[in-house]
């Protein structure tokens, strides 16, 4: 999904001040990289799918707060979040079921590889990625539902009260 450049520019009237926008433009990439690092190295270092997914959701939240809701909703809207969430929930049940073919439920059927390597530990990195995507989409969906939607209704209420 390509991002419209005018949404990212400091002249965009929506969102916060140009200072915040400039800082967020610099920090944003580091935040997303750190989130994916926490997810992908979850079987080697502290962290894992849930922590990394929450960091990614925080990244989308900071995009929403700094640049207004059009940018973040264009990258991950409520429909995209629902699709990712449901797909990951489905995959999380399907992969243990495949283990039945090799022996029993939740069997670690993928070859374990060499310890302390990035590709090791069977399906644990796979689970970390699935949980990370699921947590990212679902927590950002909660943010959309609670913050953007509720704020809009409250501004409508304020406008109506001002008219009276």
């Amino acid at each position: 999904m390509a991002t419209k450049p005018e949404l990212m520019s400091s002249e965009n009237p929506k969102g916060m001040t140009p200072v915040v926008k400039t800082v967020v433009r610099f920090v944003m990439g580091i935040i997303f990289m750190f989130g994916w690092y926490i997810i992908l190295y979850g079987h080697l270092t502290p962290g894992g799918g849930f922590a990394g997914g929450t960091i990614l959701a925080c990244g989308y939240v900071i995009l929403t707060l700094a640049f207004g809701k059009e940018l973040a909703l264009g990258k991950m809207g409520d429909m995209t979040a629902s699709i990712i969430d449901n797909t990951c929930a489905f995959l999380f049940v399907t992969i243990p079921l495949i283990g039945i073919a090799f022996g029993f439920f939740f069997l670690n059927f993928v070859p374990h590889g060499k310890p302390f390597n990035l590709v090791s530990a069977g399906f644990i990195p796979l689970y970390n990625i699935i949980i990370g995507l699921k947590v990212t989409s679902s927590l950002f969906a909660i943010f959309i539902a609670l913050a953007i939607f509720g704020r809009f209704v409250s501004t409508l209420v304020e406008e109506a009260e001002d008219e009276e």
Binding site: L44, G48, D78, G113, V135, L139, S154, V157
Partner: protein, 200 residues
């Protein structure tokens, strides 16, 4: 050393939670809730659990942002404080009962710093060979106890679906064909139309 630091941290967290309950300003109440979360995170770090510390601090930040963004702007009705004898007496009685049973239960616990290692010793010894994961927490959470994690994922999924259903303004059956593509949140124009209909 660690125990003294933990005691200071616990007193700090208790002060923060008392401020969060007693203050009249909603913003300072939410920020005081953040004190508790940050204190819990540092406590986990001191006790040697970096996995949970990372998760705790990140979730706390996200929850604070959502709470400030979602609750501060929506106008809240203030709750008037009034003395209710029955509720005060009953909560005192239940608190006393809780203290008595907690005293009895804590006496049977293993001493601080020496947990029971009957099952976890097995995991610590054979975790690396059986799963190949260097992080022992990941091997327990996702391999030995993967079934529990499946339950956790189900809880998250159910709560998200419930939140979407509750926060949706209109029921699905009342919509037209063009609306069926959207699942969760209406566009601004639709909300505006809804609100104007509601006001009339």
């Amino acid at each position: 050393m660690v125990e003294t630091f933990l005691l200071v941290l616990l007193i700090f967290m208790i002060i923060g939670s008392i401020i969060a309950i007693e203050t009249k300003n909603l913003l300072s109440s939410v920020i005081s809730c953040g004190i508790v979360g940050a204190g819990v995170s540092i406590a986990f770090l001191m006790l040697g659990a970096p996995d949970i510390a990372i998760t705790q601090v990140v979730v706390e930040i996200l929850i604070l942002v959502i709470l400030i963004r979602a609750t501060i702007t929506i106008d809240n009705t203030g709750i008037e404080a009034h003395w209710d004898t029955f509720s005060v007496v009953s909560s005192l009685i239940f608190f006393g009962l809780f203290l008595v049973f907690a005293f009895l239960a804590v006496q049977d616990l293993a001493p601080f710093g020496k947990p029971l290692m009957r099952v976890s010793q097995q995991y610590l010894e054979t975790g690396l060979q059986k799963t190949g994961a260097a992080n022992i927490v990941a091997s327990v959470v996702l391999d030995f106890r993967g079934y529990d994690t499946l339950g956790e994922a189900t809880v998250i999924f159910t709560s998200i679906v419930g939140a979407f259903v509750i926060l949706r303004r209109r029921g699905r059956k009342a919509r037209k064909e063009a609306d069926t593509e959207k699942v969760g949140i209406l566009t601004e124009e639709e909300i505006r139309e809804d609100y104007e209909e509601f006001r009339e």
